[in-house]
Point group: C2
Chain length 350, copies 2
């Protein structure tokens, strides 16, 4: 970090000079941060440590910090170098200020705009999507599109970018995907699954009961702002006693069928509905490994039960591939997609 | 992915040939995967789609897939190109096989080994660590060390790498950090905070009660295998009624002090101790934003209460910086570190 301004300055043939107004701003930010976090540091030492951040190549513009580090816009011989902080929040926050700089606008006016969208699927392997994309390509010219597919947390995301005038290729791609893989596609606009679930809930409240996912399902539900409008809460019943005490699962059932069983998942969902007074619930209990697997119930065996207070149920108990982290992540996604199918009133494709 | 073998083959001046044994292996893996996940695909189409993955530059060695993609070791004129799959689990899993290849061993024997370790701190700004590192550097020659610092989920991680013979520099760095920032340092061996908490629990069981972190605290506790030995479970009490129904928080208290208050955090911790029959508990309730803040309780205001069943308590209510994601992430870390201080029987540094 300390070297960036210097290196960029050298590249642009500009000396570093101290921007005193920026130095003062950074100082105030650090002081405020130290005060809010109730920590005490020697302010002079902090000032010295942060003075370097206010060194700016001559003729460059410093952008106000979002955190403690300023950004830079450095004109360099018809090009322009934009220096932004690394943390995504600071980077995104500073982007509009960077774009509004005349030097940046001038460069951007020479560029053609890109359009981008994402198609999201669940429940099929990446090789199947690759095969279908090749099929579509045999029927239509997709060359104006830049298509990237990636497996993200168990979902298959097709990222598409194109310049203006690619409408025909775009329609061919979307039409082909819808026709051949529509049953696996849950969003053509790149929506997160929890956003889709929230919309399908339509004012109803959701509660969850988790064992092997250990809180990941609840965390995913509360990721986005406004989730308190549709998410009541969840129980992470890691210990067997917690399943009984907090969710009312019959201890005899745990004894006879095992904590990881469709029967226990069913009672966990009932418990979540009842204890939270919720309209919909989803329960997950499984063996995330690496230990705890048996021949009958191997590592990756996970029982899901999605239920509505009105009685509709959808339950599955697949064996999921991968290591502990994969199984926990994938279980979270399976739970949300099972809920989606339940709320849509249909069965998942086989 | 489809292009890698081709490009590397061209670089190494080697033609692609079909590795039939590998093709068969990939086919079996895909078949098994399809069967286990209870999905049905046309096996011939899958076979065609995956045949390409079995194309190997002549004279190269294909490494058995960890997922569905094989790796490659391609000798190229005294150098060797190792091709590994991107998913971390597959990459890590295939690494030992790659290292055991004679071509790779030959290259490695010409290399000098690296030592690496991580120092982990919590509760100070990165600029303060930078200042201290400069101070240590004025007193000792740290040039044999490659030092990188980074802020990771609210923790400050100092990553150090060095070749053999850097013992003096290494001791100077560790001694300096311990002397100047020892109170902020919780691991000189790169341990995760939950590992440290688990060790400090020493057989006692932990339960958590979360609101704004929405399950992230429980998820973090259950990240590592074996967490069922020390983690009972948690309640994500997002709705106020859930705080009362599942944790026994007095509804009148929520009414008078607000759901985000030190008093409610205290009762949430009591509830977690009681309902899970746990020995230790940590409660978090706060305003993650972007909405819901007031002058008195702004976005980022979070109340923490760590408690032992034997009565010891540690509570804090800072205002944390950042956006919703930052605040949730940081709150998770503050909760775990507060627990650590409680279990260590000392106060966090100010």
């Amino acid at each position: 970090d300390d070297l960036t301004a210097e290196v960029v300055g050298r590249f642009a043939g500009r000396e570093l000079v101290l921007d005193e107004a920026m130095e003062q701003k950074i100082h105030e930010i650090i002081k405020g941060f130290a005060a809010r976090s109730k920590m005490r540091f020697d302010p002079d030492a902090l000032r010295a440590a942060n003075r370097k951040q206010a060194m700016v190549p001559e003729g460059a513009t410093a952008l106000d910090p979002m955190g403690t580090a300023p950004g830079l816009v450095v004109p360099a011989d018809g090009m322009v170098v934009i220096v932004l902080p690394g943390p995504p929040r600071e980077l995104k926050g500073m982007w509009p200020a960077a774009l509004s700089q005349p030097a940046v606008r001038e460069v951007l006016e020479r560029a053609e705009p890109f359009e981008a969208f994402e198609v999201r699927m669940f429940g099929l392997p990446e090789s199947e999507l690759a095969r279908v994309l090749r099929e579509i390509e045999e029927e239509a010219d997709l060359s104006p599109l830049e298509i990237t597919t990636c497996l993200r947390g168990g979902e298959l995301v097709t990222d598409v970018r194109h310049r203006a005038g690619a409408d025909e290729a775009r329609e061919a791609l979307l039409g082909g995907l819808e026709q051949k893989l529509g049953q696996f596609t849950y969003s053509f606009q790149g929506e997160a699954i929890e956003t889709v679930v929230a919309r399908l809930l339509g004012g109803r409240m959701l509660a969850v009961a988790e064992s092997c996912t250990g809180g990941l399902l609840a965390a995913r539900c509360t990721d986005a702002p406004g989730s308190s409008l549709w998410f009541s809460g969840g129980v992470v019943s890691y210990a067997d006693e917690a399943k009984s005490e907090l969710l009312g699962v019959d201890p005899g059932l745990i004894e006879s069928k095992g904590a990881v069983s469709p029967e226990v998942a069913d009672q966990m969902a009932d418990g979540a509905l009842a204890r939270f007074g919720a309209d919909a619930a989803c329960a997950v209990t499984g063996i995330a490994g690496p230990d705890g697997g048996t021949d009958e119930k191997p590592v990756g065996y996970v029982c899901f039960c999605a239920k509505l207070a009105t009685g509709e149920v959808l339950a599955r108990d697949p064996v999921l591939p991968g290591d502990r982290g994969d199984i926990r992540q994938r279980s979270t996604m399976v739970a949300l997609h099972l809920l989606r199918y339940l709320l849509e009133g249909r069965e998942p494709p086989r």
